[in-house]
């Protein structure tokens, strides 16, 4: 199944598939950020593959000078009982990824969480607000340069 999926992706997108690896039967594919919606839509709507469930979507902070932030999509095919992982990376000075809410509606809150925690902006998202932290909070807590105990005074606390 992994071989068939990868063949289909290579045939459809050619050189767009930057990198692929397999670990213990799980296929991971890295694609460029501007191709992510096309790849996701293809994986979901191909009648043979049918990755129709977005099991998870989350962010990564590699803390590297290039391609610092990543977004990971864990997909599941209810038809084939098969999983695949899609990754994409963006630069620190331009952390923009196209939204996949048009493909899977469930991505809405996942992308809000990733935006809240990492500051990755999902272009075209219908309602990109913070989901955990207060609206007026100015930082992104899961970034590696955010201190564990937070920044004093950045969160409102009632006076004693």
């Amino acid at each position: 199944m992994n071989v068939r999926t990868l063949e289909k992706l290579n045939k459809q997108f050619g050189s767009s598939v930057l990198e692929s690896s397999e670990f213990r039967g799980e296929l991971t594919v890295v694609v460029p950020a501007d191709k992510i919606v096309e790849v996701c839509r293809f994986l979901k709507e191909d009648p043979d593959l049918r990755f129709d469930l977005l099991a998870d979507l989350f962010g990564l902070d590699m803390y590297t000078p290039v391609k610092r932030f990543g977004v990971v999509y864990n997909l599941y095919s209810l038809k084939n009982h098969h999983r695949i992982r899609i990754k994409t990376f963006v630069e620190e000075n331009h952390p923009h990824v196209q939204t996949v809410t048009g493909v899977w509606s469930t991505a809405n809150w996942h992308e809000r969480e990733t935006f809240d925690m990492f500051g990755i902006i999902f272009d075209g998202h219908p309602d990109l607000r913070r989901i955990y932290m207060p609206d007026e909070f100015e930082h992104h807590p899961l970034r590696k340069d955010f201190p564990l105990m937070g920044i004093p005074g950045s969160l409102y606390l009632p006076k004693k």
Binding site: P141, L155, P158
Partner: protein
């Protein structure tokens, strides 16, 4: 569990059922009363009187079991746990709850007020479900920055004089949650009178806190209220000390 049972009726929306095994215990109680206990106590009555009195006593006994189970059911329903039915069977009565309590707090409060850790023995029995009727606030559980303003609002709604108990390590100091989103101790935004140790604290620990609080009230002390309002007013001195 109760497959063979008779439906007796419905009280306050709770179905009362009678298991077949109940007739065994009903007969045993009636028989032991009528054939042994009553003849021993009142030797000059007729056998018919013994049996009629035995049956009436047994019915009254099981009515009291039913009332006991109704009390359980109504408390559970008050906390939002629906009750299906009450069944009387060979070992007494059983109320069938449809689910476990949703919050650990409800479970704790049920146990705390129940007979094993009976808080009413120490003079604190009534739980109020509104801060406007409360004297003591027990803050239990991790308090995040986002929740802090809500906790503070509840505290501000309580009438003076008032006291605050921080229950558990997470509430008192942040506990194991050493992270940006958790307030490292609610005394950063509330005047706390007592800290209860433990993660989670044992119920007797909280009982001890309540008794310590009573001593504190007798000494007219409160972290959050002005001293004149605790137990006495400037223009009115009570003749005997107020025992809380």
């Amino acid at each position: 569990m109760f497959r063979g049972s008779i439906k007796l009726g419905t009280i306050l929306g709770i179905t009362i059922r009678l298991d077949y095994s109940w007739f065994i215990i009903f007969f045993l109680i009636t028989w032991s009363l009528s054939a042994h206990r009553l003849p021993a106590l009142y030797p000059d009555w007729t056998p018919a009187t013994y049996w009629i009195l035995g049956i009436i006593t047994s019915i009254l006994f099981f009515t009291s079991v039913l009332i006991h189970e109704m009390a359980h059911s109504l408390v559970a329903r008050r906390h939002g746990i629906p009750i299906n039915n009450i069944t009387l069977f060979i070992f007494g009565g059983a109320a069938q709850i449809t689910q476990e309590p949703k919050q650990a707090k409800d479970e704790f409060m049920m146990a705390f007020a129940g007979p094993r850790f009976d808080s009413s023995r120490f003079g604190s029995e009534v739980f109020r479900f509104s801060p406007r009727q409360a004297d003591v606030m027990i803050v239990a559980g991790t308090t995040t920055y986002k929740m802090a303003r809500v906790v503070r609002k509840i505290y501000d709604q309580m009438p003076d004089p008032k006291w605050v108990i921080a229950m558990g390590a997470c509430t008192s100091s942040g506990g194991m949650y050493r992270t940006y989103s958790v307030v490292q101790g609610i005394d950063q935004f509330l005047p706390v009178d007592l800290y209860v140790a433990g993660c989670p604290p044992r119920p007797d620990n909280l009982l001890h806190a309540l008794m310590t609080l009573q001593q504190k009230i007798q000494r007219r002390e409160s972290k959050g209220s002005t001293l004149g309002l605790v137990g006495e007013f400037p223009h009115h001195k009570p003749k005997s000390p107020i025992v809380a």
